[in-house]
Symmetry: C2
Subunit: 514 residues, 2 copies
């Protein structure tokens, strides 16, 4: 057994059995170790942004980390944007980044770079294997860090010689994982006091508070206390649909977010952050809360959120039953396809247990309104604003949940960032339907250009904000990577394609021209 | 005038008039500034790896930096791999990375990250604008750093408020750029002494030493002294073909590289680094030079290499005339298409002044042998080993040289990394012919798996090294982004397509199934 085998066995002993990878020469011994260990499922991404984004989507649904395999500094760099998103979602993940052999670094060979500096901004934990004998211990540290609190990004740098050197076999056993912090009784009492003082209160939640059972308790608390319940703007995973509590999110658009909190006097945070502007806008505040608003963090992301909710319920009591969204199919409009019509069409036919991966950016802003009564589903969002997470996230979610339909709501501009993920969907025969909202522009930026007071786009700006001339042909794009696809520009055409796509298993893409 | 205008005017005053961009909200004021200044040519890339790779290719040919516009930490991260390549090529470049407004950073909004930590490993200079009034000075520093020595990567972080705040108009003027260091007379004399001592000597060169005139002088020195002249394994730009000195490069494959230097007793470096293994291999040395080999750095990359060569010539003398490669068209084989047949076909019809961007990886290893006698051309290589530079580099080279045919030799696995660059070629109607070597695998890794002693690929390894099932359809891929394309699997078919492609202007792609 060499260091690479020890790494592989340590991962498996701790339940990590899925490896999203794009290896290079310095990782060949780990690749050989994976070859000797068929229990590890290896999924190739043709670009590292696919690899890390898929690991993010996987862990959000599997509720355990995947391992990624990345090639030196540039390979890690290619995966950083989706590590950023995963970090913001508090997704657990173990990255293995190969590096030159320890004694080769002195030569400053072409691929040498400061991997530690690259890894730190997007990792909760960065470590470096120093010898084959300690690769197991380093891996355990990485796994422990990934399981700390709500979840963490661990990046283990693996010099080639620590992988290829033989080591005494130490049969790895499962380590004890750290438990989330118990709720703080004083904070619970303080939150209860706020909920009883008669002031306008919002309970702002994310993370494990967005599972069906927790939302039911929260809704019963809200009914009992008159508080408003709200989810963060972006959440890693949220359970919603018919039979579940219908929860709104903080709006993205700054004026709407400010209006949303204008009457709020107190905010109680459960895993969530106090709401801030996604960007700064000249003359507008950074915090979305009115001046003087009281903010109480009942539970941080690293607390046991379900326990915190139970403790709060014990303190303030609950209404007898939660308010659950009824099954509702809004009437489908006709004619030209719009984002709203797409949402309505989906609401009507969404399979139970579907996983929606949302990177629809502007096109999906109104998605919630018409889909509260759709069949119950999980809703996964872009959490860090680094576009290019949608296709990979859907890919990883489908690896984690082979029996559930995954539906990607995909903006076209963002979709182009990691379009290579479609190939992995074809390779692994994943049950993913990607709906591309083809507005052929970075629509959000047209709005932001106005929002920041820079005026409408002229010649040079338009050339940077529009994706026309030529328009991207998503049907050919998907076809190039082995994914069946078709185009719709009318509601009727879209409805028919949706019917076709949902009737089969395997990857499919609809280019929705809106 | 605001900070963004001042930035734009400072760039233009210093001859930087091409902006490769993928902006976001925090860069909207710079976008608006570009809108007010039509002299700046803005080229959109649909992924930041395209943006930085194009800036690399542009500067290699234009001999001046382009500016890139990137969106916060994740946008920079996406561009880092090609910054790594540009850094290794010593390409001058000015990156502008937008960040949140200075006062907004405290809120840790979703897109916040440690941009400085991300930038440092791939930059020679990292700076941060602190106020609108000093954006001009910061930009000048960045430009100066980009022009230091052989060239440098400058990364200027631009908080949104430093861009949007009004500033007193200070008409920017061209700054004085630093000159490269003059050759060191003592080193020149020492090199001359080595060349006279009768030992087996290799002169190893890169950078400006690889221009036609400098290679002619070097060849005359080599003839006079009996030294061998050799180029580094990877070079940013090299002039070659009929009528030029036929220069070999250090081989990539470690055993070949070791053999190449086995008889060498002395190495004189002109801008080059002493040759090392691209990777470490168990039981093989890191340096490619035999033990006891003398190494003398006549000139570092930051020295004036043409002046150093002239000084050396003055010291040791030169043969009367350089040995120049004659025009030569090797006979085209028939039947199944091979990398060798592609090289031979190209050698026969290459347009004079063509720019070859080589990211053919394994398929191009033998390209030089049959193309010494092709029409004179420039040859640009992947310099840092971070794959995904080929399509962007060709894109940027074509922006720099609209009157020259650009030919991309593109491995399929690497091509998928930044395939989005094809769209920019279509959008800008660039005269680029991309030849995809479709072997449908990471062929290099099959070899490396054996090289590192890990044995041939089994089931799990094959799933990570092969790009089959499904094979990528490059004709559809190109078509999806508006680039005309066709496929060839025979020499005859390829020859005909090559004829078609070279007869027209504009982007074209040939999928060469090998």
């Amino acid at each position: 057994m060499n260091g690479a085998d020890l790494l592989c066995e340590t991962l498996l002993a701790n339940g990590i059995d899925t490896c999203f990878a794009n290896p290079g020469t310095s990782e060949m011994h780990f690749v050989a170790a994976l070859d000797r260990q068929p229990r590890m499922r290896c999924v190739l991404g043709l670009f590292e942004g696919v690899v890390t984004g898929a690991a993010d989507g996987y862990a959000r649904m599997a509720e355990k980390p995947a391992v990624t395999l990345l090639h030196t500094g540039p390979g890690l760099a290619n995966g950083l944007a989706n590590l950023h998103n995963a970090r913001r979602a508090r997704t657990p993940m173990v990255n293995v980044v190969g590096d030159h052999a320890t004694y080769h670094l002195v030569h400053d060979a072409p691929l040498t770079s400061d991997i530690d500096s690259l890894a730190r901004p997007m990792s909760h934990w960065v470590g470096r294997a120093v010898a084959a004998d300690t690769v197991g211990v380093s891996t355990e540290e990485a796994i422990r860090a990934a399981h700390t609190g709500a979840g963490g990004i661990s990046t283990l740098i693996l010099p080639a010689d620590t992988a290829w050197t033989e080591t005494e076999f130490t049969p790895p056993v499962a380590i004890t994982l750290p438990a989330p912090s118990a709720p703080d009784a004083a904070q619970v009492r303080q939150a209860a006091a706020l909920l009883r003082n008669g002031r306008a209160t919002t309970i702002l939640v994310t993370g494990m508070a967005l599972r069906a059972a927790q939302m039911e308790m929260l809704d019963r608390i809200a009914q009992k206390t008159g508080a408003r319940l709200l989810a963060q703007q972006a959440n890693g995973r949220m359970q919603r649909g018919a039979g579940r509590v219908a929860l709104d999110r903080v709006p993205y658009v700054i004026d709407q977010a400010l209006a949303c909190f204008a009457a709020t006097e107190q905010v109680i945070l459960i895993g969530a952050k106090a709401p801030v502007g996604f960007f700064a806008y000249p003359g507008k505040p950074g915090s979305m809360l009115p001046e003087g608003c009281t903010v109480l963090e009942l539970a941080s992301p690293d607390h046991d959120l379900p326990a915190a909710i139970e403790a709060l319920a014990a303190e303030v009591g609950m209404a007898p039953a939660p308010r659950l969204a009824p099954r509702h199919r809004p009437d489908l409009p006709t004619g030209k396809l719009t984002p709203d019509a797409i949402a309505i069409a989906l609401a009507g036919v969404l399979p139970e247990g579907a996983i929606i991966c949302d990177e629809s950016v502007t096109s999906g802003r109104d998605f919630f309104r018409t889909t509260y009564g759709a069949a119950p589903h999980d809703f996964l969002q872009l959490t860090g604003g680094a576009i290019g997470d949608g296709i990979p996230m859907a890919t990883g979610a489908a690896v984690a949940c082979p029996d559930r339909k995954v539906i990607g709501l995909q903006a076209d501009g963002s979709g182009m960032y990691t379009v290579q993920g479609l190939w992995t969907q074809a390779r692994e025969r994943l049950d993913v339907l990607t709906i591309v909202f083809a507005n052929r522009r970075y629509q959000i930026l047209h709005g932001e250009l106005l929002n920041v007071g820079a005026g409408p786009a002229g010649e040079n700006a338009s050339r940077m904000l529009d994706l026309d001339n030529p328009a991207i042909d998503w049907v050919q794009m998907a076809g190039a990577m082995g994914v069946e696809a078709a185009r719709a520009a009318t509601v009727e055409g879209f409805r028919d394609l949706l019917h076709t796509a949902l009737a089969r298993k395997g990857p499919f893409l609809i280019e929705a021209v809106i």
